[in-house]
């Protein structure tokens, strides 16, 4: 007998029903509108009443309309064929939906997430009699450029014996490829796909590891100063127009990972369109294949149903965990987590729950923490290592980081890349504020260098503030040059031109080489007649350095520019005046260890300072 309910109240997308029989929290139910079934999720149960959120427009529903209960939790379908897809927040494939219903997303139209008629080349890796548990592979199929492992469904919690396994060959996802039995002798068929509830983390691994391996993005300011780690978490807060989406787009192109999952959560449809139309044409620099072959897009843009927006981040993270189970490094980028939080706020408001700060629900923090907790680097049962890294943008109301979503996120992430409006307005892209951001992870740049740079920037910032008060005339030439040096560093290293084919991404070896060159310049003692002379020098040096940045790695012009830069600097450098040694050391250590530096400090722990920055002052030109 099918469980049923009836609508007794409607408030936006939250509908109250009366039901008979049993109902589960987060169960999928369907509100019946004439001949269409509107997918919904149970979000609160009280006696024989329940509140459901409808993943569609509720216009036209009436009191008394039927509701069908499915008995199943809100789930996604896992199996080969996910990569390259464009899904909505409930895993409806949008391209297929467009073929079926045209321009608009009509209510109640759902399509199964994975094509059932497609055949996959299956190669078994177990044989009759083998023992298997959840998450163990029984074989694999090639999916684009990766080997997709076919695993024992994660909800099977016993130990099983393989009693049948398919021969190598072509199979559809609904065909049985193995038969297993448990100790009691119950036989369970295994297919290439199975469902998994989105709000439940997948834990079929041996152990969680700490995120110690850097995840290179090709973005210099991130990799060098505020690195992210495989299996780590980070957030990008910033006011509108500061460059959050562009930063994620660049990351999704160049990050050195196996799979990228983009969750476009409550943002503009046009931005997703750019990605879906451009990615198939773009070549992944690491594999030489189209970028789309490593990308999954979950797209629940701002005018799509709000309730599905809430689910979309869970859909995304579940797919990420699934691929992690195959020993892959997965990067999940969610833009914007604030829209997800707002969807929760809308739901909570309609449920008339007691509101917390800015009307967000009181459980906001724990829900955000729970989401980021699903990131992680794990050792799988077969010894392989996989990871899910989560990076979320935050769109703080009024651009102030004091608001609840930013604050709740800050508590749980491992790196914080704060975008500043000032930098964006000044077109200093990527607009990550070097003095506000921090990262607890270790990157490929050694800690003393990282620390030295942060302190140099902090000191230069103090000088800049002073110049604003006392003017250039009131500033000493030394201070002024120090400021120009750091400004130069900002211009040519921290800033990066996303639209230049070469400068858009800087791989690790190039970053190291360029950073060596540039820290060499920072630590040089350069001589100038006066401030005007210094300003002109740095303008020219900057121009050459920008040419250097846009030259292909190790091309003729790359070496030419490098030589030119070294020559320009050599011409101005002089022996370091004894008396000024103190000045440099001041620059490196004096600025108060401000709080952001302290947070980065985590990454610096256990690393003693064998080298102080002024130990690095090169003795001769070769070191430059």
């Amino acid at each position: 007998m099918e469980n049923q309910g009836r609508i007794i109240g409607i408030n936006g997308n939250v509908v109250t029903i009366e039901f008979e029989g049993t109902v589960r929290q987060n169960e999928v139910v369907y509100a019946v509108l004439d001949n269409t079934y509107l997918k919904s999720e149970v979000i609160r149960i009280k006696g024989n009443r329940a509140e459901i959120q409808v993943f569609d427009n509720t216009k036209g529903l009436k009191s008394g309309d039927k509701v069908k209960l499915s008995g199943k939790l809100l789930s996604v379908k896992l199996g080969p064929g996910l990569v390259g897809q464009l899904y909505d927040g409930l895993q409806n494939p949008l391209r297929q939906l467009a073929e079926k219903s045209g321009y608009f997303l009509e209510r109640g139209k759902y399509i199964t997430a994975l094509a059932e008629d497609k055949k996959w080349d299956f190669t078994p890796c177990v044989s009759h009699g083998d023992r298997v548990r959840k998450g163990d592979a029984v074989g694999s199929v090639p999916e684009g450029m990766l080997m997709h492992k076919i695993m024992i469904p994660f909800y099977l919690s016993d130990q099983y014996e393989v009693i049948e396994i398919a021969q190598p060959g072509s199979y559809g996802i609904q065909e049985q490829i193995a038969l297993i039995k448990n100790k009691k002798g119950n036989r369970i068929p295994v297919k290439m796909c199975f469902n998994w509830p989105v709000k439940k983390a997948i834990t079929a691994y041996k152990e969680r590891l700490s995120p110690t391996e850097p995840l290179n993005t090709g973005i210099r300011i991130i990799d060098t100063l505020f690195p992210i780690a495989k299996g780590g978490t980070y957030c990008i807060p910033g006011p509108f127009g500061a460059g959050k989406t562009v930063l994620q787009q660049i990351t999704s192109r160049y990050a050195e990972v196996d799979i990228v999952i983009l969750a476009a959560c409550g943002e503009r449809a046009s931005e997703v369109v750019e990605t879906i139309l451009n990615f198939p044409k773009l070549i992944d620099p690491h594999t030489g294949k189209s970028l789309m072959e490593r990308t999954i897009i979950i797209c629940n843009t701002s005018s799509m149903p709000v309730a599905a927006r809430e689910s979309s981040v869970y859909t995304a993270v579940t797919l990420a965990e699934y691929y992690r189970q195959m020993g892959l490094d997965v990067l999940l980028l969610a833009d914007s987590t604030s829209r997800w939080a707002q969807a929760m706020r809308e739901k909570s408001g309609r449920l008339e729950e007691i509101p917390g700060e800015e009307a967000f629900p009181a459980y906001l923090e724990s829900v955000i923490a729970g989401f980021y907790e699903r990131a992680g680097r794990v050792r799988l049962k077969d010894g392989n290592i996989g990871s899910v890294t989560i990076g979320g943008t935050v769109s703080p109301a009024g651009g102030s980081f004091e608001e609840p979503v930013t604050q709740a996120t800050l508590k749980v992430v491992g790196a914080f890349q704060a975008l500043s409006k000032e930098r964006a307005d000044a077109r200093r892209f990527p607009a990550i504020g070097p003095l506000e951001s921090w990262s607890r992870y270790k990157g490929f740049i050694d800690t003393p260098t990282r620390k030295y740079i942060l302190k140099t920037l902090a000191h230069a910032n103090e000088i800049e503030q002073m110049i604003k008060v006392v003017g250039e005339e009131g500033t000493s030439l030394e201070d002024y040059v120090f400021y120009l040096q750091s400004e130069f560093f900002d211009n040519v290293y921290l800033q990066q031109n996303a639209f230049d084919p070469v400068d858009a991404a800087t791989p690790e070896n190039r970053q190291k080489r360029v950073l060596d060159l540039i820290t060499g310049i920072l630590k040089k003692w350069l001589q100038f007649r006066d401030k005007e002379d210094a300003r002109k020098f740095f303008n020219r040096l900057r121009q050459t350095f920008l040419d250097y940045n846009t030259s292909t790695w190790k091309s003729d012009s790359f070496y030419e520019c490098e030589k030119k830069i070294q020559a320009m600097v050599a011409e101005r450098s002089a022996p370091f005046p004894e008396t000024l040694l103190s000045h440099i050391s001041l620059a490196a250590i004096e600025p108060d260890m401000n709080s952001t530096l302290k947070r980065s400090e985590k990454a610096f722990e256990h690393e003693s300072f064998q080298k102080e920055p002024w130990d690095n002052i090169p003795e001769n030109e070769e070191n430059l």
């Binding site: 009436k62 008394g64 949008l94 608009f104 409550g266 046009s270 843009t301 701002s302 109301a397 005007e532």
Partner: protein, 445 residues
């Protein structure tokens, strides 16, 4: 099968409650008094047999004994070419003397476009305003707002863009529009012969607040339909702040917990579902949305401009009668300004960068610091830039605006001081200027 009730059990704010069965969520009803006047109302909440309706003309004067007739359908608007040249109010009733249109009704607030059916915007809309064409190009299918304050000439700016833009249909949505402004739009479009390709939905400041809420939906439903028919449509919405305030009013009446300064927690979603109607349809026309957002207290962090900025694809800051180069942003400009002229992007960047230096110099100057030769150049540059490019009275095509940019640079600087790649200065630096500058340089040395 119209259902009629005549027992109103509650009236709060502009929301009335009746006890009724079998009523659809979102359905319209007509509330009529014994004196014969009537108003539309929309179902906004159902709680068992208690049905809450928002009354378009406001609840003032409504009696518990008024008749409520449910219409069995949602908000609709007639769509056909007969709309062109016509003016309606926020309920969709004629405001001009023309006939009531009832043919081919379409529902407003329809579903959103499948992202898989959108295409990337690619056509620039030329406005003749250098601050837009050169620095923040407007693009077909863009959604963008003019951020401004009361008293600025935003409606004039909007009308001017509408007239310059080569679009097939103009849909104007007025919310809380002052009557003068309404007449201004009407007369301007009429005089320029553009009224015959325009439709107006105008809620004036003296109309009931709730009617204001319908305006964007009416406009965008009509715009979308024209676009599906292959037309390029420009939708003008002024002023969205009034729309937001109407939302706030209704949510407070419904006792919703406000999120920020009294505005409802779903303000973002409400605005987004309207602005996202901007679209370039694969194989059909497009809808471009240009709106006005007046910022209370000129504060961009106020929830209205804040939420808008997070939704739109950029904003034009209209301040002191000029479009500010800073803060103004067209996020789609990079889709069009690479194919205009090779110098467009680098020139634009250089002009803005130098203008930023000029502003710094102005600050220094106001603090009484000595002006270096470089500062003096910047001062001259800033003055020319404001006069010849920023002033809203300037009305020149893009090509000419770019040339003017070079002339201004050449008048004030040496090529290498502009930070523009040598390749381009060699090609575009005005010849006479080059000579006189070289002379000047030789003279100096």
């Amino acid at each position: 099968m119209k259902k009629i009730y005549n027992k109103i059990i509650q009236i709060t704010g502009n929301v009335i409650t009746v006890s009724a069965a079998n009523i659809k969520y979102g359905e319209l009803a007509r509330v009529s008094s014994e004196y014969g006047d009537s108003s539309l109302a929309e179902v906004i909440k159902i709680d068992g047999d208690r049905v809450h309706l928002q009354v378009f003309s406001g609840s003032s004067g409504i009696s518990t004994g008024d008749e409520i007739r449910f219409l069995g359908h949602q908000m609709q608007v007639s769509f056909s070419d007969n709309l062109l040249g016509r003016i309606f109010d926020g309920k969709g009733d004629p405001r001009d003397r023309g006939p009531l249109l009832t043919e081919s009704l379409i529902e407003t607030g329809g579903p959103s476009v499948n992202p898989a059916k959108r295409v990337i915007a690619s056509r620039m809309i030329h406005t003749g305003i250098p601050m837009i064409d050169v620095f923040n190009s407007l693009v077909e299918s863009q959604k963008i707002s003019i951020f401004t304050t009361a008293g600025e000439p935003y409606n004039e700016l909007m009308a001017r863009i509408a007239l310059q833009a080569e679009v097939d249909v103009i849909v104007l949505g007025g919310m809380g529009l002052r009557f003068d402004d309404y007449l201004f739009f009407k007369d301007t479009l009429e005089n320029e012969g553009a009224l015959s390709r325009s439709v107006f939905f105008v809620h004036t400041a003296s109309d009931p607040v709730v009617e204001c809420l319908m305006v964007p939906d009416l406009c965008l439903a009509v715009a979308e339909k024209f676009a599906l028919g292959g037309k390029n449509v420009l939708a003008l919405l002024t002023d969205m702040a009034n729309f937001c305030d109407a939302l706030k009013e209704i949510s407070i009446t419904m006792e919703q917990v406000p999120s920020n300064r009294g505005y409802p927690g779903d303000l973002y979603s409400q605005l987004a579902s309207r602005y996202e109607k901007a679209v370039d349809f694969e194989g059909a026309g497009s809808v471009t949305i240009l709106s006005v957002t007046t910022m209370p207290g000129n504060d961009v962090t106020h929830p209205i401009p804040d939420n808008t900025g997070y939704i739109t694809e950029g904003q034009y800051y209209l301040n002191n009668g000029r479009i500010e180069p800073f803060g103004s942003l067209s996020r789609l400009k990079q889709l069009v300004n690479k194919k205009t002229r090779e110098d467009h992007r680098p020139l634009m960047d250089a002009l803005v960068r130098l203008y930023a230096y000029f502003e710094e110099t102005m600050e220094k100057k106001s603090m009484g610091f000595r002006m270096s030769p470089w500062d003096k150049k910047l001062l001259q540059y800033g003055m020319l830039f404001e006069l010849e490019l920023m002033d809203l009275s300037v009305n020149i095509p893009l090509e000419q605006a770019l040339n003017r940019g070079w002339e201004i640079l050449a008048e004030c600087f040496l090529p290498e001081e502009t930070g523009i790649p040598t390749k381009l200065t060699d090609k575009f630096w005005p010849e006479e200027m080059r000579k006189s500058n070289e002379k000047g340089k030789a003279h100096q040395e």
